[in-house]
Symmetry: C2
Subunit: 588 residues, 2 copies
Amino acid sequence: MSIYRTNTCGELRLSDAGKQVTLSGWLQKGRDLGGMTFIDLRDRYGITQLAFNMESNAALCEQARKLGREFVLKISGTVKERENKNLQIATGEIEIVVGELVVLNEAKTPPFTIEDNTDGGDDLRMKYRYLDLRRTPVRNNIMLRHKMAQQTRAYLDAQDFTEVETPVLIKSTPEGARDFVVPSRMNPGQFYALPQSPQTFKQLLMVAGLDRYYQIVKCFRDEDLRADRQPEFTQIDCEMSFVEQEDVLNMFEGLVKHLFKNVKGLDMQSVPRMTYADAMKYYGSDKPDIRFDMKFVELNATENNVVSGKNFKVFDDAELVVAINAKGCAGYTRKQLDELTDFVKRPQVGATGLVYARVNEDASIKSSADKFYDETALQAWAKACGAEANDLILILAGQADKIRKAMNELRLEMGTRMGLRDKDTYSCLWVLDFPLLEFNEEENRYFAMHHPFTSPKPEDVELLDKGELGSVRANAYDLVINGVEVGGGSVRIFNKDLQAKMFGILGFTPEQAQSQFGFLMNAFEFGAPPHAGIAFGFDRLCSLFGGENSIRDFIAFPKNNSGRDVMIDGPSEIDQKQLDELHIALKK
Amino acid sequence: MSIYRTNTCGELRLSDAGKQVTLSGWLQKGRDLGGMTFIDLRDRYGITQLAFNMESNAALCEQARKLGREFVLKISGTVKERENKNLQIATGEIEIVVGELVVLNEAKTPPFTIEDNTDGGDDLRMKYRYLDLRRTPVRNNIMLRHKMAQQTRAYLDAQDFTEVETPVLIKSTPEGARDFVVPSRMNPGQFYALPQSPQTFKQLLMVAGLDRYYQIVKCFRDEDLRADRQPEFTQIDCEMSFVEQEDVLNMFEGLVKHLFKNVKGLDMQSVPRMTYADAMKYYGSDKPDIRFDMKFVELNATENNVVSGKNFKVFDDAELVVAINAKGCAGYTRKQLDELTDFVKRPQVGATGLVYARVNEDASIKSSADKFYDETALQAWAKACGAEANDLILILAGQADKIRKAMNELRLEMGTRMGLRDKDTYSCLWVLDFPLLEFNEEENRYFAMHHPFTSPKPEDVELLDKGELGSVRANAYDLVINGVEVGGGSVRIFNKDLQAKMFGILGFTPEQAQSQFGFLMNAFEFGAPPHAGIAFGFDRLCSLFGGENSIRDFIAFPKNNSGRDVMIDGPSEIDQKQLDELHIALKK
């Protein structure tokens, strides 16, 4: 037993009454009630009330009154049943009548309050992250992350996956995002790169016969940081041999169910599947939030065109006229509809306007376009949309890709307004059959949508040969939860010739392919097994399970949007001597 | 069930006879016996024999005969009891009578044989590491490492430790070894550093109240690589709050016992403890191998000087005359003794000569120095050394520090020669009370022996004030197994003033201390708890448990002595565009 404590601050109960105990922790707050002084003592495990009595021990009581918030204390005393019980906390039925008090360390007044709801802004909290982490909600996030990692390992270990550490100091490859690089002192003029993912190494582990690999691993991407990106992030990285897509989907559906069950206590149903084509058609997104329905309805579809030819130019000229049905929203006011119009016109959404049609209580319909459409025409809209009395149909029109994207935003906005996106409800979805390649207008060439190692669907390989590159579907899959892509992977190419062909399509000369991925292509010559894998964004998965939008509070020491750690004030300048040793110079 | 297999190659038993199965794996070897052809099919889980019969299926048998080593096959067939059972392997009682064979991938002939004992040299094995990893002993090392990590987590999780990921992109600090650095694109002229250890972050987690932290984490050191060092290596990194040294020793003795029990099936006794002073006095090393005794005996000790004053100048002039007793080695030949003399004269050992004394069967003594020492004098040596009939006393003399180091080498050499260093015997030891500071002659100043955050023993703090810096002992401890330091740690300073004093002693100006460790010193102002920690070299620990000397084969993708990964051929040159974006230039 430590000299510092016999028990933690979260441990003592009424059944411990009468025991002599020693506790250590931080002074959360004190209350001075004249004859009595109470202190809440806090550690990671909970809070215990300390009692000091002016009558029985005036000197100690006086000492206690002088202590400040966040002082580190060690106390000894007797566990006693409380008079005013606090049933909100686990230790709320007892207090410690303190007989001995040692101040282990003093504390300056913290720059923000160490409470669940703090008065500290983001910048201050990040600068004093070690104080921010004392707050229960932040600490709980870090503990949740630990539990997520534990349960991930428990599941994968039980499935015979081997955790293998892959190297952090690797080689730079121009494909994909920007690498962080590390000058090599021992190899002048050469650089290591930090891995964007262990992709090639995990494939080599499959060639090596490891069969099932995983790793919870730091990855690095030197990108301009958007709101919720970090230059270093963590993946659950997995790969399996002798499997098809179906095997991978089942295995990792199992992981997700295991996590929901063991971390959140939720029984998940089996995860529905949707093709990329359907996701784009019905949700305008490759990561649809299916906590709510509200699917897209194409009003100018060839097989059921209910809008064209009525002289409404906006619809007649549109490549796509698409509607959603906001159930029960017919009562939206003029003001609310104006808000929605403003919403879709925002540059980030990009529509030019919004047409609506309300289905009244009596089933009659009132639309902003009823100059062009009579009641019969409008009833055809309602029928197409499955709209009934009190529903509100919202319609966007224009260039198909652009309008799908805009309607996706509007659908999500309506979902939020209608309270259909509860953070404690979880809807998982597999999105399948992604395109293998996507065309980049700027560079006038195709890029791998996933990465160059993703295999085409066997039935689409002939399209590859015919040059119909945009139509080739990949054996690639994403796992989406609540509209957030939390994981993605693919069945890999394991044939050297097909891999070489892919590099060619992606614009690599054979020499470039050899110099950058030679080790992988060589490895494929020595008996590569069929293999497939997946990687999950662990930070994002944790934030989803924690019911929050930002990943930052699920990372112990995150960086800000300029890639700085404001607590340690890094990155920083280094000595000239260091630069010299590394054979580099700063550019003026 | 996958289309590729119903079972693994390590799974089928006699009780499965008659079953229709599908297996996939690599062709380990084939044997052609005229009417029959046999193939050993290998995967991670084992080897299964495949049988092809010329009589019943000539075409298939012919096909099988053409397959090369390391081809990837999928076969279907019937499990059958073998005629010639191989009881060495788990599947040795059955074979598969193959009905269907698919070649999933061909393979070039590997550059070395994929057998337990390979003909591949180190360089070739590293270049084709993905083939080397197919070999059972190497794969077993990687699996052992996985199990070590699993069991480490199981123990620490059960002890309420929280695994927290600390950042990889941090800030460079000149103290200690050389940092690897990463130029920041977004912060021109500034650099991240890769952590040599998460030391300051784990201390901040204690300030944050996390109470018990661990992480199995990659660390980085840009040192000139000695034989068995890697630029990136893995630590089990731990820290605890509200503890003294005793608590830490008990906790991690528990970890070591847990690992021996659950990984090796060994019940370890409680770990003995030795002070640094005793380790140096009796073993000439701060990491003594105590699998065997053979302690140093100082023959010119003030209290029992059995060598001085006999006109033997070598001993009379020596600061230290030190002996070991090699039990039962009196029979060593002239040649063997010459070998030992040559051994101690090697520059790495550094003694000028070796004196011996054999205790004969009849208890008389024959020494190489008996010109100076009569039988009575020699009997006093034997008594001091506890030497009996048939023992061999080996003596070195000279400057104390140098001779202790040399005798340590000789003792280990004798231990090896005498078969006392069995790799399957494990002796653990805590070495305690390390000096806080060590003097560096070159820089003419004291350096922290452990690191600047290590606390002095409370009873030695006054020596600090008196300026007797070399005599101050630290609350620092190392765990040594079989003469290898596998872990080390300390009770930390948690008082801001003492920490500032330490930085002063180590030659930091207050400004330097503030600029480099300001965040930690600031953190100490807000209520730091008493805390202590330890870190284990995970690669080394795995190699010890695997019974091998080199850590390299316990790392999936190691680097060579120039810090190169010869498989991926990294580090490598990067584009001018990348250099420009990073605001750096190569130095000519």
